[in-house]
Structures are given as structure tokens and as C-alpha cells.
């Protein structure tokens, strides 16, 4: 069979779309955080590092306490802690947000492996027991719908949470006063400040929220999909999430569509035994697609006006 018919055949299996949604959610969580952070005017390329930190501490906590819920909480806190560093450095100290983001990613990659060696020596981190993973739950009734039941309603708990967060983020950003404030701070912080909005507080909140979401995604990866921590296990997903933010033109819905496209690529990649294209060539697709989008083929992708600019109170 040719690669094209292979992929076409694959596209009609529910398994593929089930895997697509799971892979998409892994990207969606950090991407939602990225949307929130960048809407408030703080460029966030640190999702990768926050995710990795979350994954590591999630596994450590789960191995210690045998409680996936608590471990997920720890993972989110770890992500948030990393985000706080990014926030302090880039909001308080007005550092270059890109340098700070890169530093977070390098720091996370170094710290996690450093701590693996300190805590577990040269051995393996160890595996989390099946019963201590974040559970998969079939939604009763709905999971019997042909095709879609399997795709949408036979998923990990995190998938349902993420879909709810997607709706919530959209509503908060575009239908509430808080969302208006976040966007105002990201578009014109001086005007927002004049109107009595606390620019620093909004930006801190937005960046830390992105850390919580990235940490959650890290937990999903390490103690939901996988059952252990391996060095650099996020493998660039934080950067694909960043691509999804841009691809989706800084909207939650757009980012979700981008995540689905990238997730489909990942799912096809994972099914590489059936198809005959080099999986490595397929892995290039999300990045090439993002370049195509950036090149303006699908309309211009314009970020919030003050994205990346530190706010100096009293400046013009």
C-alpha cells in the first residue's frame, strides 16, 4: 500500500482519534496557559520547562504518597513555582522575557536530572503502580455512542478537565470583567493602569496560571499516559504548545484546533507500524505548519500589542 492509502485507512479508526484527543490535550493545557500569559503581555516560551518540572515532581510525589490526586497537585504547584520565577524575573526585574523563558527551560532540564541523581542515585526513578495513575473513566451511556463514544468519552480524567478548562478560559477571557482586564493589560498597560487596573497583579496571576496548567499537563504525561519520569520526557511539547498559541492566533479555541492538528500528527506518529512514511518526517509537520501559518498563508497572526514589553509604571 502507498503511504497515502495507509493514512486514509488509519483516519477511519476510532483508536486514532482517541489518541489524537489525548495528545491534543497534552498540548492544550500549556497552550491555554500560554494564551492567558501572552494576552496579559508576558511572552511565555517556558511552558516546556514548567511541564517538565511538573512531570518530575508529580512522579516523585506519587511514588512517595501513592496518591495520584495529591501528586497532580504537587505537579501543578511545581509548574507554578517555575512560573513564579519567570514572573519575578520578567515582571518585577523587567528582564527580557525570552531570555528568562530560555533560562527556565534550561534550568528545568538541568534541575530534574540533577535531582534524579541526588534522590534516586544512578538507578531508574522507578515506576508508579497501575492503581496510582491518574485514572481513565468511561462516561456511562455516552461512551456507547458509536465512534464518538470511544473518541471523546473513553478518556483520562485530565482530558475532561482540559476540555472544561478550554471552555472556562474562553468565557473568562472574552465574557468577564477579569478577561477584559487581562486583555487590556496585554494591549495597553499604561491605559489599564490609568483605569485603576493593577497591571503587575494581573500579569503575575496570568503567568502563574500558565504554570499551573503546564504542571497539570506534565502530570498527565508522567503519571497518566506514562508511569515514570525520564529525562527530557516532554520532548519539545511545550514548544509545540507555543506554536499552537500562535497558530490559534492567541485564542483558546484556535489553540485547541491547532492542538488537534498537532495531536493528529502525534497519533499517526505513534501508529507508525501501520504506515510507511518515516515517522521523523511526520514529526516535522507541526513546526512546518506553524511556519506556513506565520508566513501569512492563513491570514495574519497578530499578537497582543504589549506582548513581551515589561511594564514600567509611569512610562509613556
Amino acid at each position: 500500500m502507498t503511504p497515502v492509502t495507509d493514512i486514509l485507512h488509519l483516519l477511519f479508526t476510532a483508536n486514532l482519534w482517541q489518541a489524537t484527543l489525548a495528545a491534543a490535550v497534552l498540548l492544550l493545557l500549556p497552550a491555554l496557559g500560554g494564551v492567558i500569559s501572552e494576552r496579559s503581555g508576558v511572552v511565555n516560551i517556558a511552558m516546556e520547562g514548567m511541564m517538565l518540572t511538573g512531570a518530575f515532581f508529580g512522579v516523585v510525589a506519587d511514588l512517595a504518597w501513592h496518591n495520584p490526586l495529591a501528586a497532580t497537585g504537587v505537579a501543578m504547584l511545581a509548574g507554578a513555582l517555575m512560573a513564579t520565577v519567570h514572573a519575578v524575573v520578567s515582571i518585577q526585574f523587567r528582564a527580557d522575557q525570552i531570555v528568562s523563558g530560555i533560562a527556565i527551560n534550561i534550568f528545568a532540564a538541568g534541575l530534574t536530572v540533577f535531582l534524579v541523581n541526588r534522590i534516586y542515585g544512578l538507578q531508574d526513578v522507578g515506576h508508579v503502580g497501575q492503581s496510582e495513575l491518574i485514572p481513565y473513566i468511561n462516561v456511562p451511556g455516552l461512551d456507547q455512542i458509536p465512534f464518538f463514544g470511544k473518541v471523546i468519552f473513553q478518556q483520562n480524567v485530565i482530558v475532561y478537565v482540559a476540555l472544561a478548562l478550554l471552555v472556562l478560559t474562553h468565557i473568562v477571557l472574552f465574557r468577564t470583567r477579569l478577561g477584559l482586564r487581562i486583555r487590556a493589560v496585554g494591549e495597553h498597560p499604561q491605559a489599564a493602569d490609568t483605569a485603576g487596573i493593577n497591571v503587575f497583579a494581573i500579569r503575575y496571576g496570568a503567568v502563574i496560571t500558565s504554570g499551573l496548567l503546564s504542571g497539570l499537563s506534565g502530570a498527565f504525561l508522567a503519571i497518566g499516559i506514562s508511569n515514570t519520569f525520564v529525562p527530557n520526557m516532554t520532548g519539545g511539547r511545550g514548544y509545540i504548545a507555543l506554536a499552537a498559541v500562535i497558530f490559534g492566533k492567541w485564542t483558546p479555541g484556535g489553540a485547541f484546533i491547532a492542538c488537534l492538528i498537532f495531536g493528529l500528527g502525534q497519533a499517526i506518529y505513534d501508529n507508525n507500524s501501520i504506515i510507511h512514511v518515516s515517522p521523523y518526517l511526520l514529526s516535522m509537520l507541526p513546526y512546518l505548519l506553524t511556519l506556513v501559518v506565520l508566513a501569512g498563508v492563513v491570514g495574519r497572526s497578530t499578537p497582543p500589542a504589549a506582548d513581551g514589553l515589561p511594564y514600567v509604571p509611569g512610562s509613556e
Partner: protein, 405 residues
């Protein structure tokens, strides 16, 4: 405007020098202190860790019988690509562009060098060596050129495009040597070696019988790419300060509007700057293949030279000499990391933690903030040293450059 009396004894030149160095040196010290505390907090001995790092990096105070000359040689091998990629990050900085794609450009250069070196492996060195080096430069330039063209024409932010190009290069490399056209044999993840004529000579003869500093001279892997790297740093300084292109690059970095009024084509400058930067990164990749590895291996899957280069460029304050010094520091850290792991049982990944701490410290100017709090060291707030380019807003034209140090 300052009522604080200034010490009169120090001449202005020394004061300026100490001010210029305070930030990078202070940042390094700060990073080492925080890193040491981290080692201490996790039950390690920071002095043993840093002692082993010093031994591995510079051959000082080695306790486990390491050969100092070999350690220094290993450090230099790490330093070579760091200088060249450091230049590739520092040059666009001056134009207000943030090239975090040095890694992808390096891989493109390494791939091109390998492909040419295999394809024309029978050619003699005087022809083939320039071919593989120039081939690597062209490939790197094209890789960076994509980001340059997208920035200049559409306004797509170079940070995002270069990140994407990094990943495209990484996956393309995997494709090539795992099941792709450059794979040596099924089951391996490396390419066949490049021809003998495509290789850079080592500085010491590759001879097992010749004993230098107690070891056969073939173990010292320092290669003539060192001269290429030093030349790259010199060309960088010359280009930036002695040519009209350098003037245009700095002008665009200072203010695109002003540059336009002065008759500088901002678009052309952005594209040319990225092309040159990419050529430097590509050259780094080519010298790694031609000088060290002689084939593509899975080592390049986890290569981080292009990211280390960001720290090199920032710590080196964008000057040629500074870049070389910063590259020596990070080269020594990387070479020392493995010794630290072996001798002091502290993960070599501490090096990445230190690197990140240095980046934080420079970016946030912690040193300046600390100085402000120490009476007698504080300067008037107008004198904050903005060595960093202010963050460029995504996809707009505004971007300011680093001030000259």
C-alpha cells in the same frame, strides 16, 4: 546629581572597566553561590563539586589522577563551536534580532558538511575541505535566512520561526541517519564517515607512539577549527565596528525608524544579518563534523551548543573578546561536568543549572539590583547598564539593541 562622594583615587578607565565587568563576573559568582547552595541542600559537598569542575575544566587541583593537559584539551574542543555559535547569536542581537535558532543552523551545517564529505570523499583536501566548510555555512545561512525573510517581509517574530526551524532540523537529522539516505547500516543511528580530505587536522599529530604530557598525542583532540573560531570572533568585531554593514546593523538595532531616515534598508539589513549569523552557526556545525566527529551520530540529537551560545553571547556582552572568554567558561563547565559526575558524584547537569542561573542573573540584572542595596556601591538610577536588548514585542518592528559596553 549624586551627593555621594566618589573615591578620587581610581582613574576613570579602571572604573569603567570594573563597571563593565561587574555585571558578567557578578552574575557568574551569584550563579555559583546559588548552585552551591543547591548542592548543599541536596546533601552534596559544593566544594568537592566545584573542585572537580575546576579540575575537569582547567586541569587545576585534580585529585583522581586526571591529566591536566587532556582536560584543557577537552575544554578547548567544547569552546570551539561555542565561540562560533556565540557570534551567531551576538550579531543579530546588535540588530535587535534574537536568534535562538543557532542550534538548528548548526545542525543544518553539520548535515551539509557530512553529505558533501561523503559524496565527494575521494577529492583531495585542498578542494574538499573548503567545500564542506562553505557547504556548512551555506546550509546554516539558508536555515537562518528563512527566519530573516519572514521577519523582513511578513514581520513574523524571529524567536518563534527559529524555534520551529530548530525542531525541523532535529527531526530531519533523525530522518537522515535513522532509516534515511545517510544511514550507515540498518540498526545504526549514524552516517558513514566523511572522506579523509574533508577532515580538519588536529593541532597535535594523530600519533599513538608520540608521548606528550604523559599521554599519546592522539588523545588530544584539539583541532585547527580553533583558528577558524578565533577568526570568526575577530571577523565579528571587525564587521560590527569597522564596516558600513556593521554600522547598518547597529543602526537598525538602535532604532529602525532612525535607520530608515539615515537611508538604511531595514529589510535588507535584517535578511543579511540573519544570513551571516546562520553562516557562522553552520560553520560551527561543519567544524564539529570535520574536526571532531567525522560523521553524524545520535550525539547530535541532544546537542545543546546552539542554546549554550545564547548564554555565551549574553555573558560576553556582545564583544569579540567577551564571547571568547564566555565560551571558555561554558566550555570548561561542560568539560568539567563529566569529571564532577565521576569524582564528586554530583550530576553533570549542575552545569545546566549554573548556566540558567547566569542567564537569569544577566537578564534581570540581579547584580545591579544588589549594588543598589549596598550603600556606597549604588549608582544613580540613570546609569543602569542596559547590555540586554530590551524585549522586542512580538512581530512589530520595534527592537532596541544592546548599548555598547
Amino acid at each position: 546629581m549624586s551627593t555621594r562622594p566618589r573615591p578620587r583615587s581610581t582613574p576613570p578607565a579602571i572604573r569603567r572597566l570594573s563597571r563593565g565587568l561587574a555585571m558578567p563576573l557578578g552574575s557568574v559568582v551569584l550563579a555559583f553561590v546559588v548552585g552551591g547552595l543547591l548542592v548543599l541542600a541536596t546533601g552534596g559537598n559544593p566544594f568537592a563539586a566545584y573542585g572537580a569542575l575546576l579540575c575537569g575544566g582547567f586541569g587545576f587541583i585534580c585529585t583522581q589522577g586526571e591529566n591536566p593537559a587532556l582536560q584543557i584539551s577537552n575544554t578547548i574542543v567544547f569552546v570551539i563551536p561555542l565561540i562560533t555559535t556565540g557570534v551567531a547569536v551576538a550579531l543579530p542581537f546588535r540588530a535587535g534580532l534574537f536568534n535562538i535558532g543557532a542550534e538548528g543552523q548548526l545542525l543544518a551545517g553539520a548535515i551539509a558538511c557530512t553529505a558533501i564529505g561523503i559524496k565527494f570523499s575521494s577529492l583531495p583536501s585542498p578542494i574538499l575541505l573548503p567545500m564542506v566548510l562553505i557547504g556548512g555555512m551555506v546550509a546554516g545561512a539558508l536555515w537562518a535566512g528563512v527566519a530573516g525573510v519572514l521577519k523582513a517581509t511578513i514581520g513574523a517574530h524571529e524567536v518563534v520561526t527559529t524555534i520551529m526551524m530548530n525542531y525541523v532540523a532535529q527531526w530531519f537529522l533523525r530522518y537522515l541517519i535513522v532509516g534515511g539516505p545517510l544511514q550507515l547500516a540498518p540498526g545504526t543511528s549514524k552516517s558513514s564517515p566523511i572522506g579523509a580530505g574533508a577532515r580538519l587536522a588536529t593541532v597535535l599529530p594523530n600519533d599513538n607512539s608520540l608521548i606528550i604530557f604523559g599521554l599519546p598525542s592522539s588523545v588530544y583532540r584539539v583541532h585547527t577549527g580553533l583558528l577558524i573560531a578565533l577568526a570568526a570572533a575577530a571577523i565579528f568585531a571587525f564587521l560590527l565596528w569597522r564596516t558600513s554593514l556593521g554600522y547598518e546593523i547597529r543602526a537598525v538595532g538602535q532604532s529602525q525608524k532612525a535607520a530608515r531616515y539615515a537611508g538604511v534598508s531595514v529589510r535588507r539589513t535584517i535578511i543579511v544579518t540573519m544570513l551571516i549569523a546562520g553562516a557562522f552557526s553552520g560553520l560551527a556545525g561543519a567544524t564539529e563534523i570535520a574536526g571532531v566527529d567525522h560523521n553524524l551520530t545520535d550525539k547530535y540529537f541532544s546537542d545543546s551548543t546552539g542554546f549554550d551560545a545564547i548564554a555565551v553571547a549574553l555573558l560576553g556582552l556582545g564583544s569579540g573578546v567577551g564571547i571568547v572568554l564566555a565560551a571558555i567558561l561554558f566550555g570548561a563547565l561542560h568539560a568539567g561536568g563529566s569529571v564532577m559526575q565521576a569524582d564528586a558524584n554530583i550530576s553533570g547537569n549542575l552545569v545546566f543549572i549554573l548556566q540558567a542561573l547566569i542567564l537569569f542573573s544577566i537578564a534581570a540584572n540581579f547584580v545591579g539590583a544588589i549594588r543598589q542595596r549596598i550603600p556606597g556601591l549604588a549608582r544613580p538610577p540613570t546609569a543602569l547598564p542596559p547590555e540586554m536588548p530590551p524585549a522586542a514585542p512580538l512581530m512589530t518592528e520595534a527592537a532596541a539593541p544592546p548599548l555598547e559596553s
